[in-house]
């Protein structure tokens, strides 16, 4: 038997073993387990702010953290966020006033992602230029501090661990951990066989999950670079992924029009969020503070709100005139932001 034949055989045998192990612990599903829980109330949120300023499709947004709230509030600025548009700009907004605090012109307008560092000092962007560019917001004039250039495919997502480390996911099927002082990749996470589309850092920052066009989600150890777990179930590209606040589960959103919850310790899908009437792909997702509500952005211009425990749709955010491309809930859970191809960001609560 040739090597390929042998490996195929072994792979099949191992897959069967894994499926059997999953079945052995699959004694129920989330909806059944949550049958005793009171249903989530019907969620009706109002648009509190419509942020106008971008001149083209918005592809990404990211909230700043609580870290420098007090120093900012003394100068009348509160919750900041960054947005990225294919008009070639990053805009930094003060969400409370709706005012633009900063504008960062991009070398490449084909941006797909943006990120705010937890410190509030740095922001990053990346896209079809295959690079992740990091900017310092605190210098008198905003400066490019690093251009992280090693991916051989588009940059789909970036997330800062600190001012010295950033994680990226790429269309070249890899994710990477970069040292921002040297500008080099410290670790390359190699296991997906399709473009990596999204990533989410665990609350303790020791692991992260990625979603890819191979319809798989993978859990990685940041320090040893290994893929620890693989989650199947989706039948198309996974465009959005997020850790549950409890850190033991993840939520994914896909072009197959569903969102799913995978429990990390049971190592399998425990509930799917879907509706026969919904036939648009999921582009983005964000969770409310307790994890109970999932805000999922769709290609059909809406953001649907799901009860994460019971799997029921409990609300919808309608108001955009084009695809919802990004969603985000800030650290204090006080609102949800949606960004759209209609060039606007809306803040709801």
């Amino acid at each position: 038997m040739g090597e390929m034949e042998q490996m195929k055989k072994e792979a099949e045998a191992l897959k069967t073993q894994i499926e059997a192990a999953r079945k052995a612990v699959g004694d129920t599903d989330m909806a059944s387990a949550a049958s005793g829980v009171a249903p989530a109330p019907r969620v009706q949120l109002k648009t509190r702010r419509t942020l106008k300023g971008h001149l083209a499709k918005i592809y990404a947004m990211h909230w700043s953290t609580d870290n420098n709230l007090s120093s900012l509030s003394s100068i009348g600025v509160f919750r900041l966020m960054v947005s990225a548009s294919q008009d070639g700009k990053l805009l930094i907004w003060d969400s409370h006033s709706g005012n633009k605090v900063n504008a960062v012109p991009l070398k490449s307008s084909w941006v797909m992602t943006c990120a705010y560092a937890p410190s509030g000092n740095l922001v990053a962007s990346g896209g079809l230029d295959n690079m992740c560019t990091v900017y310092n917001l605190k210098t008198p004039v905003i400066k490019t501090v690093k251009e992280l250039d090693a991916h051989t495919g588009y940059l789909s997502c970036a997330r800062f661990l600190s001012d010295t480390e950033i994680l990226t996911s790429s269309g070249d099927t890899t994710c990477a951990l970069w040292d921002l002082e040297t500008g080099k990749q410290k670790t390359v996470f190699l296991n997906h066989v399709g473009d990596c589309m999204c990533l989410s850092l665990s609350p303790d920052m020791n692991t992260f999950v990625s979603g890819a066009c191979d319809s798989l989600a993978k859990l990685w150890d940041i320090r040893d670079g290994q893929c620890k777990q693989t989650f199947q179930g989706h039948t198309s590209d996974i465009n959005a992924i997020s850790f549950y606040p409890s850190a033991n589960a993840i939520i994914t959103g896909s072009d197959d029009c569903t969102c799913k919850m995978y429990d990390l310790r049971a190592d399998q899908e425990v509930i799917s969020y879907q509706d026969a009437a919904l036939n648009s792909g999921v582009t983005s997702l964000a969770l409310s503070m307790s994890g109970r509500l999932i805000f999922a952005g769709y290609d059909d211009f809406n953001c649907n709100i799901w009860d994460s425990l019971k799997g029921e749709k409990v609300g919808v955010l309608s108001g955009h005139d084009n695809r919802v491309s990004c969603t985000g809930v800030p650290e204090d859970g006080m609102c949800v932001c949606t960004g759209s191809w209609d060039s606007f960001l809306k803040i709801w609560n």
């Binding site: 072994e10 191992l14 052995a24 989530a40 893929c227 006080m334």
Partner: protein, 70 residues
């Protein structure tokens, strides 16, 4: 062996190694995992503004109506 062939072999080897690793995982019953997840949600529900609703007076995004003297 041409490059395409050896890439396939490399990918297949990687896939088998990964599967071997994942077979070793200790899994817990969904019932136990779900119970903990439900508990987490319940414990944190009161601190979830989007779930409980936000009073107008404490909503930083609600425009406060001001009285205008005519």
């Amino acid at each position: 062996m041409d490059v395409y062939c050896s890439n396939n072999v490399l990918q297949a080897r990687r896939a088998v190694e990964q599967l071997r690793l994942e077979t070793e995982l200790q899994r817990i019953k969904i019932s136990a995992a779900a119970e903990q997840l439900v508990q987490y949600c319940q414990e944190h529900r009161r601190a979830d503004p989007l779930l409980t609703g936000i009073a107008a007076s404490s909503n930083p995004f609600k425009d406060k109506k001001t009285c205008v003297l005519l």
